[in-house]
Symmetry: C2
Subunit: 764 residues, 2 copies
């Protein structure tokens, strides 16, 4: 065995040279021209490939957080490679992440119950990155649920969902999540009107009893949590509020929420009435709501509100009296409402129109200040004349939908839903600069940091709703298509098609990759959902099983490649909790934990503590095991949950032995270990002969290997103690365990060595 | 409005020319060399980019079906682009697909209950494609669940899970799914030993009472279902069975299942015993099980079995008596057991060894036929001497794990877990041909059709377990890394790194893309989970609401952009079923259906019928709406579920009207429609002037547009009827609906026109 390992190690070390030699004589390697000809690629394709292809180990420049639509998740991908890096579960349980399967995350999901109902999905629409001074800061991302009006808070320190808040008054929502420039508030606007507080009223009283609303959720950045007690809402007319955006710089303190179906139409096609789609799109205009949230905050703090479901709501009458809400006409069924980087303009796309409307905040402010209104709506809200608020209207094409900004002044990109195009245009001068076709019906689009005060001016992504013929067919439910567009030149250039394999994204937010600084491991024993030390975390050596009538609690640790304890005996009917702490420090050394035939799976990243709770309702012997391929002995990382039938009396027999070991076995194993140590020593000698300390990744590996060798030493001591007692069974097996730790150390050492070679490490 | 649309249509038509002009004068477009320099790409990187980059609309050559590990899903991606096309949910509910949220799919998930427990996840390991004569045929994919011993059956006609079968006797499993060469049987081998039938026995009786097993599930291809009544198992010793493979060609009728922990060790580190990992890896060899399944099938059909949980099990004694099972030693803790394309060799990687072992089926058969055994194991199973079965043992490196075959005779690729390498070697001669480093710890690997009788010899993918530093960091839980390797030349070349954003893949199967022929739409009114006509599907015009005490059933249709009915009134406490049929025929025109604050979401692809069932337990007015962005008026595709408080008496007031329309409104809308029709006519004229019939995608769009225009005509009739009665309210709104259908037709027409331009259609 040892000789083979040594040979292999030597072969590995000598391999680079051999590889090179083979390469020189390789006969069938294709040239670039041959590849282009074989694959039918043009020079333009090759240029696009060069702009997006990201070789092994190289990083992306931007990271996109896309809604996962009705998957209830957030999709994270890199630009320009367009490789999806992670699906983060927010409203939907997901077992790989243990989300909704461990007790800690169940508490987060339980926050999202409405009227006692468990909701195991969400219709996520609009993610918003936390901002500092109007720029994304990489600390948090927020996302809404349209179907059940909720907001999720995800920490970008670990990419885990930390909080779900239920809107206490809305029936559904769409205009969230949007943040104020320092993320003091998260804006959530209603969608379909309802009785505030989710009460009942007949549809015949729609105009009188149904309402819209907008909620301003107070965010406590220090705690990383929304504070419902410091949040408030404003009652709005039943106009089916849609998207929102917060003002910035000159317009900071204001927010904008558009609407459709200002007709307040109630369909009923089954009774011969025209359907909602006809009645809700009849008028040429709907209403943009202009809200002074800074002033509303003062009104809230002054206590001028009523409470609905214990939540403070500023009534429309108070909003009118205090001058908080104004209306202005906006083109038919608009979708995007987007404030320019300088805060001076608000660009609105009319989805059933052919033009985009640019409103001037200065003009709006002047109308408000001089109380120049063209009238009031049925609820008494003041209406500003469109011509008093408009800067320009610009014909772009069919179905302008959403807008994102360039780094160049006055340049904006607008998606055209019906035309399946993106228009690049000048919103100051009202001039179209360029157009590009996409495949197909584009909904939202995202430019890199394109809604911040400092757009990056690099890359634009078309979030197309249909893929149809773009990709290999995978059945009647197609992936969506995110198309990457290079916007660095005068002309937009389509450079990549990315299928979305799960969920139907609506909106996305993008951030410069260097602003993200996530953890690689948790502080030992962290409850990742609270960010606090888990009260039940234990250190190796302190594991225990605590029993009380009907309950068993197991305080467990996990390390390559065993759990402690390995055998847990309980009685039929017991409620059993396994609180497991991953005691690894090595990056990416995640362990899982599942119990056969039970509905539990934990994802235990290094340092994390999480709990699997089950009812041992049936006698039997259930295997628990690690669900992450963590090491060469991953399959052996297992244990037995023994559920004894009620009243069962153990015969008291010892553990079974399938195999007996002798002194010869021990001696053989001992020799293998000694020889292996020599190999490890040679790898260590190689590593320390280099400037490895210059490479933090390698340093981390070396620390991990050192840990493993410490464990190896401990196992060696146990083996020698057993051997002293001539207990060859345990002596042999502990010597085997010693060797297992050596193998783990060798594995890590080899990885460190490969990394040094790859990085071109030099002798010290 | 009309003038704007016409202008836009004209602009669209004329745009190609304008774009060209702009492109010629564009000043800042980067050259290829500039891009390479800016992004730090080498010529080798560029070659790799050219080998993998797949421009918009171009298809991939192969499709990979990868296990999603503990996500409970299957991941589908294209090769060489390495773009993920779909996550197919198998064991885990997933709302985007409606899986576990509609009543039809809940029935599939309910098949997977064990001991009455709902299991909302699965630990998927090994997908297997259905085969015809040993080649993947693109009809089905099967996958196992390790944690709860189950097999999922997925139809590749629609990429939906159709069936879950629970293994009636195992406690956990790992050695599934593997198929016989015509998919007559799906092989599922146990993992951790248990009392067969999931009963109880103390661990002290491990050797006597605990067992392994292998199940042969009979697959009925016609029905697309496993037939449990025609399936059987064979009892095996408690050796912790691992992977399996079916023989092929000369070895057809046989199957091979390896094992680890043949030591039958029971750990107990908490009691001072060495852990499982030590005791299970002490011996130098474990046992490969060689099974004559064809003969076992005869034994089963002859009724020579006992029944456990009503499932036929051939006992070990019968297996011994009938000559069904043989053992041969295999290197320590093996993982892959892979039969060569010609069926003559079985290659086994010893995960804790440095060499791969090649067994000769001919030698095994000779030993069996001549009854040349070296002895029996503790249970009486005959053991073939290793030297009587081995063809060669070949030193490859540290941790040989899994093998995939090349199209060239005798060439195999083996993953080396500890070395983080792939070895290419000759299993006939026992010679290493090439090695390549991957990042990092590689588990399984997959070559294109690399386990079939005719491997494609193109592309290999390393399924690496750790990604660590390969991608932008996304928190402590990293994506895994699938690395694409070009194997067309003598030297393996790494060409792409693909992060896996959700789940931890173990095994994957690959198929030539042209073998997949999925549906684009369902036959009208299909229950996709049974493949049958849904008994409650209705045609447009036949929608209805059926009431009985405490129950309301709504037979609904969905089409761009409304549901019928739009208002559903029920009473508090009613159980309400919405059976919704998507009446679209257009490709990719999926609708969704959710009810605000309820735990339901449907994914309704064209032709599909699915059911959302809720308990209307609280009075209120709940919006239901389409969750897929299906059309410009998607947000308006909504309705109200009115849940009246118990005993509530309606005042009988009519529907609310938020807006009144006059004759002038009607005349204006009518004129818009007439003008719009002229524009549509011009688009139609353009399309029919080309050879559009040569393009099936365009023909489908034209059919869809024709449908929309038929609906438009119907709405026009209603508008004119109302106008005759001087009912300007309904006249205006039906005229509005007429226009909505026109807009949909125009949308489709434009898409058809763009497609014709892209495809270079010629005048007729």
């Amino acid at each position: 065995m040892f000789n083979s390992i040594r040979k292999s190690l030597l072969a590995t070390t000598g391999f680079a040279a051999m590889g090179l030699a083979l390469s020189a004589t390789g006969s069938s390697a294709e040239t670039l021209d041959e590849v282009l000809a074989r694959r039918g690629l043009t020079q333009k394709d090759l240029l696009a490939a060069a702009k997006t292809y990201t070789p092994t180990g190289k990083r992306d420049e931007f990271i996109v957080f896309s809604s996962g639509g009705q998957s209830g998740q957030i999709i994270v991908y890199g630009v320009p490679s367009m490789r999806i890096l992670k699906y983060v579960s927010v409203f939907t349980p997901e077992p790989w992440q243990g989300y909704g399967f461990d007790e800690e995350s169940k508490k987060v999901l339980d926050q999202g119950k409405i009227d006692g109902r468990e909701i195991q999905w969400g219709d996520t629409h609009h993610p918003a990155l936390s901002e500092t001074n109007g720029e994304p800061d990489g600390e948090f991302v927020f996302i809404n649920d349209k179907s059940a009006p909720r907001i999720g808070v995800i920490s970008l320190h670990d990419f885990e969902t930390q909080q779900i808040v239920v809107n206490p008054i809305m029936q559904s929502e769409h205009g969230g999540a949007f943040v104020t420039p320092n993320s003091d508030y998260i804006i959530e606007a209603a969608q379909y009107p309802g009785v505030l507080g989710r009460g009942f009223a007949p549809l015949s009283e729609f105009n009188e009893k149904f309402r819209g609303a907008v909620t301003y959720w107070k965010f406590n950045r220090e705690k990383g949590r929304i504070e419902p007690e410091n949040s408030f809402s404003i009652e709005l007319p039943p106009y089916t509020q849609d998207l929102s955006d917060a003002g910035k710089l000159v317009s900071d303190g204001w927010s904008f929420t558009n609407s459709f179906c200002a007709e307040r139409y109630v369909g009923g096609i089954e009774s011969g009435r025209p359907p909602f789609e006809a009645g809700c799109s009849q008028n040429d205009t709907d209403y943009l709501h202009i809200i002074n949230w800074k002033k509303a905050e003062e009104v809230f703090k002054a206590g001028k509100f009523t409470k609905i479901n214990d939540h403070p709501v500023i009534t429309m009458q108070t909003a009118i009296d205090e001058g908080l809400v104004y209306l202005v006409a906006e083109p038919k069924s608009p979708h995007g409402v987007d404030v320019s980087p300088d805060g001076k303009y608000i660009v609105v796309g009319g989805k059933l129109d052919t033009q985009a409307s640019v409103y001037s905040f200065e003009k709006i402010k002047a109308a408000v200040d001089s109380k120049k209104f063209v009238g009031k709506d049925s609820y008494g809200l003041p209406i500003i004349a469109m011509e008093d608020a408009l800067h320009k209207q610009v014909p772009l094409g069919l179905g302008p939908l959403h807008n994102q900004f360039d780094s160049k002044p006055c340049v904006v990109y607008t998606s055209l839903y019906v035309d399946s195009q993106v228009a690049k245009w000048d919103y100051c001068e009202g001039k179209v600069l360029d157009k590009i076709s996409v495949h197909y019906n584009i909904g939202h689009l995202v430019a890199m940091e394109g809604e911040s005060v400092k757009p990056a001016g690099k890359y634009l992504i078309a979030l197309n709703k249909l893929a149809i013929d773009r990709f290999n067919p995978v059945g009647p439910l197609h992936p969506q298509n995110h198309q990457l567009i290079d916007i660095s030149g005068d002309k937009m250039e389509l450079v990549y098609d990315m299928p979305v394999p799960l969920g139907e994204p609506h909106y996305a937010a993008a951030i410069s990759a260097d602003k993200l600084k996530p953890l690689v491991r948790y502080a030992y024993g962290t409850d990742s959902r609270t960010g606090e030390k888990h009260p039940d975390a234990v250190r190796p050596g302190s594991e225990k099983i605590v029993r009380e009538p009907g309950k068993v609690k197991v305080f467990m640790t996990a390390i390559r490649s065993h759990f402690t304890p390995e055998i847990v005996e309980v009685e039929e009917g017991d409620e059993v909790e396994f609180v497991v702490t991953n005691s690894e420090r090595a990056e990416d050394e995640t362990h899982g934990f599942s119990i056969s035939t039970y509905n539990v799976n934990l994802s235990l990243e290094p340092g994390k503590t999480a709990t699997a709770k089950i009812k041992a309702d049936k006698p039997g012997v259930f295997s628990y095991y690690c669900t992450e391929f963590c090491s060469a002995l991953h399959l052996e990382m297992t244990g037995f949950l023994v559920v004894k039938p009620k009243g069962y009396q153990d015969a008291g027999a010892g553990a079974a032995a399938g195999q007996a070991y002798t002194k010869a076995d021990y001696d053989k194993q001992f020799k293998t270990c000694v020889d292996t140590q020599a190999v490890i020593d040679s790898v260590v000698a190689y590593i320390v002969s280099t400037d490895f300390k210059a490479y933090p990744d390698v340093v981390a590996l070396v620390e991990d290997a050192t840990d493993q060798l410490k464990f190896a030493e401990e196992a060696k001591v146990k083996a020698e103690e057993a051997a002293k007692k001539e207990d060859w069974q345990n002596a042999t097996l502990w010597a085997g365990q010693w060797w297992q730790y050596q193998v783990k150390a060798a594995d890590i050492g080899l990885r460190a060595k490969n990394l040094l070679d790859e990085k071109g490490a030099k002798p010290k």
